[in-house]
């Protein structure tokens, strides 16, 4: 009995320790340390990027960072007149990296969602993605109405699955667990078409020329935007201006040609990705 009491006491103590950490949790300090003037004074901007997502953020064989997001990061550093320090993050640590001041800016294929908007700020988007549908070139599906009465493949957990589960447009859904499975199923002729994020499909179709992205955009567009810590008004304002400027001087079109076009093939044009 006594042993149990001690165990419970130890457990409670550990829980209390945790509680202490949580108890000190105050709203994080205002973003003075990451404001534009602070960044300029420091001489470096810390930018969170992906290291494993070609063609957006990846590392080439010489250890150099490459990609659509990286090109934007370089431009941001140039226009601010500071050096860029890259912090490689994973998808699920992007918000934490901002909120703990590990980075000033996130340029990591960051999709704007209502949930994320509650904890961080997004600047103006610089890229759009949406659901696309691929089908064999021999029997292309170019309109949603053509899906009626046919089988349609989706990958579980994607926006495409959510979209078609809500309203299947008369198609019968086949749901698969992985990208590999869904593409194999399409190749084996189990369905007339496959729906997924269009950016994946563009790249896949390039390697599988017998198929085409018959429907390029479906459902609401999703936007990719720079992430900034909530309350960091000066950097948000600066980034918004920067995106507008880069849009006007054709930077994103050039960036598309340099970084995305080699992956997406000729089916796609800059207009499908870049926001005007």
């Amino acid at each position: 009995m006594k042993k149990h009491t001690r165990l419970i006491a130890a457990f409670l103590a550990v829980v209390t320790l945790f509680g202490l950490f949580a108890g000190f949790a105050q709203p994080a300090q205002a973003a003075e340390t990451t404001s534009v003037s602070a960044i300029k004074k420091r001489g470096t901007i810390k930018i969170a990027v992906f290291g494993d997502l070609p063609p957006y953020g990846w590392v080439d064989k010489n250890g150099k960072r490459q990609g659509y997001d990286i090109a934007l990061a370089k431009q941001v550093g140039k226009d601010l007149g500071v050096k860029v320090k890259y912090v490689q993050v994973n998808a699920d640590s992007r918000v934490d990296a901002l909120n703990s001041n590990k980075v000033d800016l996130v340029l990591a294929n960051f999709t704007v969602t209502p949930e994320r908007k509650q904890v961080i700020s997004f600047a103006k988007p610089y890229m759009k993605v949406s659901i696309g549908v691929i089908s064999p070139k021999s029997k292309p599906i170019t309109k949603v109405s053509q899906l009626k009465g046919k089988n349609l493949i989706v990958n579980k957990g994607t926006t495409a699955e959510q979209y078609f589960t809500k309203d299947s447009k008369g198609a019968t859904l086949q749901k698969y667990d992985s990208k590999t499975q869904q593409f194999n199923a399409l190749k084996n002729g189990r369905a007339a078409a496959l729906a997924d994020d269009n950016s994946y499909l563009y790249a896949w179709v390039k390697d599988n020329p017998k198929y085409t992205v018959g429907i390029k955009h479906l459902g609401p567009n999703q936007y990719i935007a720079p992430g900034i810590k909530k309350g960091n008004k000066s950097l948000l304002k600066w980034t918004n201006k920067e995106i507008t400027k880069l849009n006007n001087n054709g930077f994103f079109d050039k960036n598309y040609t340099n970084n995305l076009k080699p992956y997406f093939g000729s089916d796609v044009t800059a207009k499908d990705i870049v926001i005007k």
Partner: protein
């Protein structure tokens, strides 16, 4: 289509992987040196019969032993800076967390070894007029070290292997570099993952195997001395 093995040697890839391995090794070595020293001190203190000290050290041990290393890393890297405004870089956080973790585990190994030294050894030391620290230094520690070695080396290899979690806090360790290489070549070499992880397996083996060989050597030496 070339075999995925070619990506290991393309460009700077191989030296990048070795660079990543060095980061893992450096973090392990620093945290082990600090952690083991801390552990020996705390382990000795845990044999002192002072209830308050014991409770504090016991709490420290349980905290670092029960809370998963991933959670500790997140806590120190993302959560503490947010609330206390201390901002360490990722490698420093890794060394700190690992050193505290090693210190906790080591304190228990040391305590266990110290109390296994036969009581009469202690009494004999007191009889020839040794004071507390002298007793610890000349009687208890030399005899306890033999008992600590297997568990300590086991702890060392665990620390080295746990560095594979560091990619979660943006440390560019060997696993992180490996993933960069795999994803950069996903389109042209879909089998790259097999070769990259195969090489990482060999690299970790090269780090850990000498340690276990050393442990066996030391144990054999102990047996011969006994």
């Amino acid at each position: 289509m070339h075999s995925g093995i070619s990506i290991l040697f393309a460009g700077q890839n191989f030296s990048r992987l070795l660079g990543g391995l060095w980061i893992s090794a450096k973090i392990s070595i620093v945290s082990l040196v600090i952690g083991i020293a801390l552990g020996i001190l705390l382990g000795a203190l845990r044999t002192v019969k002072n209830p308050i000290l014991r409770v504090i050290l016991r709490l420290y041990l349980e905290f670092f032993r029960i809370v998963p290393t991933v959670v500790l890393l997140f806590l120190f890297y993302y959560i503490l800076p947010k609330n206390f405004n201390v901002n360490l870089n990722a490698q420093a956080v890794a060394m700190l967390v690992f050193a505290l973790w090693v210190g906790a585990e080591m304190s228990d190994i040391v305590r266990g070894a110290l109390i296994s030294v036969p009581q009469h050894q202690c009494e004999a030391g007191i009889a020839i007029g040794l004071n507390g620290p002298q007793l610890f230094r000349y009687v208890l520690l030399p005899q306890a070290i033999g008992l600590m070695i297997p568990a300590t080396i086991n702890l060392m290899t665990r620390v080295i292997k746990t560095t594979s979690l560091l990619l979660l806090i943006s440390v560019m360790d060997v696993i992180n570099i490996g993933q960069q290489i795999i994803e950069a070549n996903r389109q042209t070499h879909p089998d790259g993952a097999f070769w990259v992880y195969g090489l990482i397996f060999i690299l970790y083996f090269l780090l850990c195997y000498p340690l276990s060989a050393w442990a066996r050597h030391l144990e054999r030496q102990q047996d011969n001395n006994a």
